[in-house]
Symmetry: C2
Amino acid sequence: SINTDRLLNRLQELGRIGRDTDNKLTRLAASDTDKAGRDLFVTWMKESGLEVYIDRIGNIFGIWYGPENRNEAPIMIGSHIDTVINAGIFDGCYGVLSGLEVINTLQEAGFIPSRPIAVAAFTNEEGVRYTPDMMGSLVFAGGLSVEDALATVGADGTLLGEELERIGYAGTEDPGFLKPHAYIELHIEQGPILEKMGFPIGAVENLQGISWQRITIEGVANHAGTTPTDMRRDAGLAAARVITYLRDRANDSNGQTVATVGTIDFKPNAINVIPSLATFTVDLRDPYEQRLQQEERALANYLKELAVSEEVSITTEQLVRFQPVTFDETIVKLVEQAANQRGLQSKRMTSGAGHDAQMMARVCPTAMIFVPSIDGISHNPKEYTKDTDLEDGANVLLDVVSNLSGN
Amino acid sequence: SINTDRLLNRLQELGRIGRDTDNKLTRLAASDTDKAGRDLFVTWMKESGLEVYIDRIGNIFGIWYGPENRNEAPIMIGSHIDTVINAGIFDGCYGVLSGLEVINTLQEAGFIPSRPIAVAAFTNEEGVRYTPDMMGSLVFAGGLSVEDALATVGADGTLLGEELERIGYAGTEDPGFLKPHAYIELHIEQGPILEKMGFPIGAVENLQGISWQRITIEGVANHAGTTPTDMRRDAGLAAARVITYLRDRANDSNGQTVATVGTIDFKPNAINVIPSLATFTVDLRDPYEQRLQQEERALANYLKELAVSEEVSITTEQLVRFQPVTFDETIVKLVEQAANQRGLQSKRMTSGAGHDAQMMARVCPTAMIFVPSIDGISHNPKEYTKDTDLEDGANVLLDVVSNLSGN
Ligand SMILES: NC(=O)NCCC(=O)O
Ligand SMILES: NC(=O)NCCC(=O)O
């Protein structure tokens, strides 16, 4: 079993890096605080005798080679150490540090791996500073060219390529230089299901497809007092109809597809002026591509009807579109078995959030392990997972990895 | 009849004051451009032999006394010359300059007024820089103390009192120093009704009550991908339900009460985060106080139900509340008669917008005359009223005023 204290201490230590004067934790990708976090992680890897490689998009890999396995494809354990603004300490870091902990535990146990074991920290998983999220793993998996990714302009006007140079993490390896035999990611659930249903372990069998659109509705600005109701072409009202439509549809379908409108903007945004313009985003997710497409079509049809009934014009822009991912059944079963052998009940489940595993599934057999998030909270300082759950998750990871890299 | 060219030329000349480099017209209350507009208006009044008075809130009055009427209460014609940002040239200015034109016409005709005739330009009708709107007339009518009004902090952080001093329009008269016998305001409709129904003159018999509220809904921010639909406490969805509720109710009531949500803001306003906070404004208007109260109560009840069904907490803040105003039936009839005698069809109607007349009705018999606004557009450079309609409106005003101030 893993060394729980070491894992928890490292989580705390990394979680202290990137605190502002209000003690808020923020390590945006390729920032100074991200550099400090990376440096600490690299130090730990080197102390553990790992060979450290950085690829051109800044992904960090630490590889533990056994005496005779240099030509074998590695088992890769990964996640990310960049964070959102005002983050918790577990999202991403738990997976990366558990990967290192698994290697340390196997080293100390005298384990002879038949395959190298690699731990990876991917660049810019959160996508807060540079869009899209999961960028490092997407580039690694060949879904985005390294040149395009490095040329990304950040929310703060910086270039990712220049920032990686600046912090010393513009590496030389071509993304994809490693061809993993399998990829496993341990992560906090970031949702309420495991805690609510009382399972310590989630055996994640698939990951939802993600469709992000920006919708712009154009009506006619007019005086709130003098314009009769039946003569209004109210962009704000039309936006509200879309929001309630999406929820009513989610309710009717028992919430299989989840839909979120997280951002909105009215113009001219004056109390006594009917909005001429409403801009908002729609985040649609479903584990099944067909159903996701069906919901996208239903929304498109609804927008067509709405444009006619409210006399507005509507345009949509696709911002992100990732198909659902089905994880490798063999690895998912290994997760279930490992949990079972440790007397832990596991639940087969879907990942609601996007993760690096989603991209890695394009290049090798992949699965994820979830542990409970108290109240389902993440991306928030209140993000919390109990020590025993953190320990259990890392031990299940240990068993799966030793199984995959054993003889 | 009035001198149409003089009126139109003055409208154009005043309309050139306050243009920026893009030729956009903006004369916010007590600004440098407002000062320039005021100076021009005062010059015209002095050239016309009027006695000019400024009161402590900066309202400007030009009074034409007849040979033997100094002790009579004046007939007051008024409106405002401040504008919104990127305004048209008619809103407010048309009423003020028509007042001056009526005086000039009567002067030239050798008319002996039994009552003084005053033209008034009230401070800060638009309320863009300082809240509330109709401030100068509200103070004049005793609805707001001059001290409180002068202490108003503007959207730009300035103090109205200091700005009036700065531009030289902090007068010495106490607001209300004049007690008008009657008040008449000629204004563009700012709505589509007269143009759509083909009437050149609106005999405005009442003015809607205006209720402005800010509503704040607090839910719980959570991950868009991992939070099941039935566990969401989505402040943005709840806001959208209020917006559609208000419209559906307006439709059901044949749109007697008009309701507008012109501003909205979500927090944290991130594409993949369920909004924890939604803030928006509601502008409710109805010509009948009972019905306005009924709609306010219905909204309050709806918010209570919504707080339970969506598991959010909702607070409301009243920003503005003006009761509906019924104008003076005698003056409204005079407007109808004057139109009729000039062969102009008039329509009895409600003012959808707030106007200085709304405040003046508290202190003397009051009515308004409307002329058509093409496409109902105002607060916009496209604001437009045809020359013949401007002429007809001013002539109806002339007839009503000469009737009220004749022998
Ligand atoms: N894990 C995670 O929060 N990823 C961000 C992408 C998303 O799922 O919205
Ligand atoms: N006339 C006018 O536009 N007044 C502004 C106040 C309002 O009616 O919203």
